[in-house]
Amino acid sequence: MYRYDEFDHTVVAERVLQFRGQVARRLSGDLTEDEFKPLRLMNGLYLQLHAYMLRVAIPYGMLSSRQMRKLAFVARRYDKGYGHFTTRQNIQYNWPRLDEAADILDELATVEMHAIQTSGNTIRNVTADPFAGVAADEIEDPRIYAEIIRQWSTLHPEFSFLPRKFKIAVTGAPHDRAAIKTHDIGIALKRGPDGETGFEVFVGGGQGRTPVVAKSIRGFLPKRDLLSYLEAILRVYNQLGRRDNIYKARIKILVNEIGVEKFTALVEEEWRHLRDGALALPDDEIARIKAYFASPAYLDIPGDVPEFDSKLLTDPAFGNWVGSNVTEHKVPGYAIVTVSLKPEGGIPGDATAEQMEAIADLADAFSFGELRVTKDQNLVLADIRKSDLFALWQGLRAHGLETPNAGLLTDIIACPGLDYCSLANARSIPIAQRIGTRFGDLDRLRDIGDITLNISGCINACAHHHVGNIGILGVDKKGTEFYQVTLGGSADENTTIGDIVGPAFGEDDIVDAIETIVDTYLGLRTDGETFIDTYRRVGLAPFKETLYAAR
């Protein structure tokens, strides 16, 4: 994975020192809270319902075991012994103190981590496919370009006071595991006319109260032009994005208001001036970054591993876990493991310091010392020898990390909701916990199969409910918590926004409603159909019928 050179080190170290000064000026009263707010936000420090929250960037989700141990250390020393992995491949600490914030950032800097631009109206942490480099369907490793974008966007002098926050995601594979079409800019690696790799560029995706699927504005962009093209998009947006209403300030609104053709024309015109300037990417810089993401030293081993096959048969619990949490690796004899952070009754995405350390140890023992964070709030160990899977599973089990539900109904994505968030209408976490308990039976879960369920506590949609196969949105009706349900959303290469089923459900009815939806699907599906397949075939009507018939 990428390692800082002297320049990266200097930028991050100086940034912490600068922030330390800003905190000191705030504490001494030189800065008002109003003036301090954008400064702390640019360094990832939010003010929440009960306390400050620090959001630390995990660029494109990559972590070394050493970094993970540092995250555990921070959780223990500066927080209440745990951290929360988010849908943006970040980690959040919910209880840091203002006067210790710079100390935390100092700790993180020693392992080449930071919280720069994890909030504020800036270009945020760049996200990418958590299976980057190991997926069989990959055209090229998206992390190379995500890292190049990370550097370009870091402390960008022109784009630090954008109309609104700005999120960029990159996928290197045709099957999109990074939800690029829900981002302000989505970048998909693609082969050009002569077989060379470049990018397709999508703009204007977003969630919140106006969910929009990003539109393609350039079918093929050569690699050398990546940064100049991004700069052109951002420059158009920075000048024309709305600043009179924060709900209309995202780039999706600009693209919709002026139309994608006009927007594209403006970008292309701007780019004409920029493309041959200093932002053109030299081949040797791409090669330099690429070297950091070279494959680890895989052994030349057979794809068939008899001892693994026999364990599958003799240990059904292991077999269940392999069934849901283990994915095909591009190299024979290896496998990709998803470590679920969704135990029954737990808080989606939470991990304790002990769990973080345990996973770091397992990464060292079995996966070249590296791990990844996914947008589904899980972790990934990407390079496990099949013959090590059983030992790994036992290691995970010792720390409650073996939940066999990756990609299944209880692999719920949920935002903090009313338990932590000052903007919430309703609680998300208890609903996730109750659904987890209701669908605790593993055989039933496996029978239901692949499905995504997302719960946001308000229309800001932090948990991507619009693009969940089943989406739950907390709404407030005269001071009571209600839950609106959407069906048919998806966040892959066929991104769609879910359809609202009808009137919202009360707190006591929402789990039953989910069960009705699932039962309706089970009654309608044909062989091999997942929930989303069935939904796309039959549409909303049958679900509406069963949901509201009984009322």
Binding site: D5, V11, P296
Partner: protein, 183 residues
Amino acid sequence: MPLAKDGQLIDDPWTLVADGAVPPAEGALLVSYATWTEHRDALSRRNAPLGIRLDSDQSPALIADDLDRFDLIALDIPVFKDGRAYSYARLLRERYGYAKELRAVGNVLRDQYHFLHRCGFDTFEVATDEAADAWWEALSEISHAYQPAADARRPILALRQARTEHSAPPRPDTATVAAGWAY
């Protein structure tokens, strides 16, 4: 309001002409875009310095053809969150080749000096006399920049290209990776 350049307070010889007023014949005048369009001919015939002040929703593209008439362009930042002036400044410097005084006016705070300077501003209207003191500190807090911009800094990419082989960065090697990413 005090005016600062390179961390020093400087005199402001410019007279701001109120909208609707007839520009006087003498002296260095700073006019709004509205005044400029209304009195364009008269202002062009004057033999004294002329400056223009643009609001944050007025792109410098509006005056791109007239740039050689101005000795000062002032870009308004009504609230620090309004970042349009950063793009305008770079366009003026890098696209249109404007080389004279470029002034940031409005809500200009110490923690913005660095980025404003990188985007091409050279004078700053500040809230208090003391606000200028932090200038050099603000500019030197972060010594390298990843991006090319309108200032003279060489971006990190260029510094890397110039780097000699023996100071090359740590290369990934699987032995250290497998050993738990130790240095």
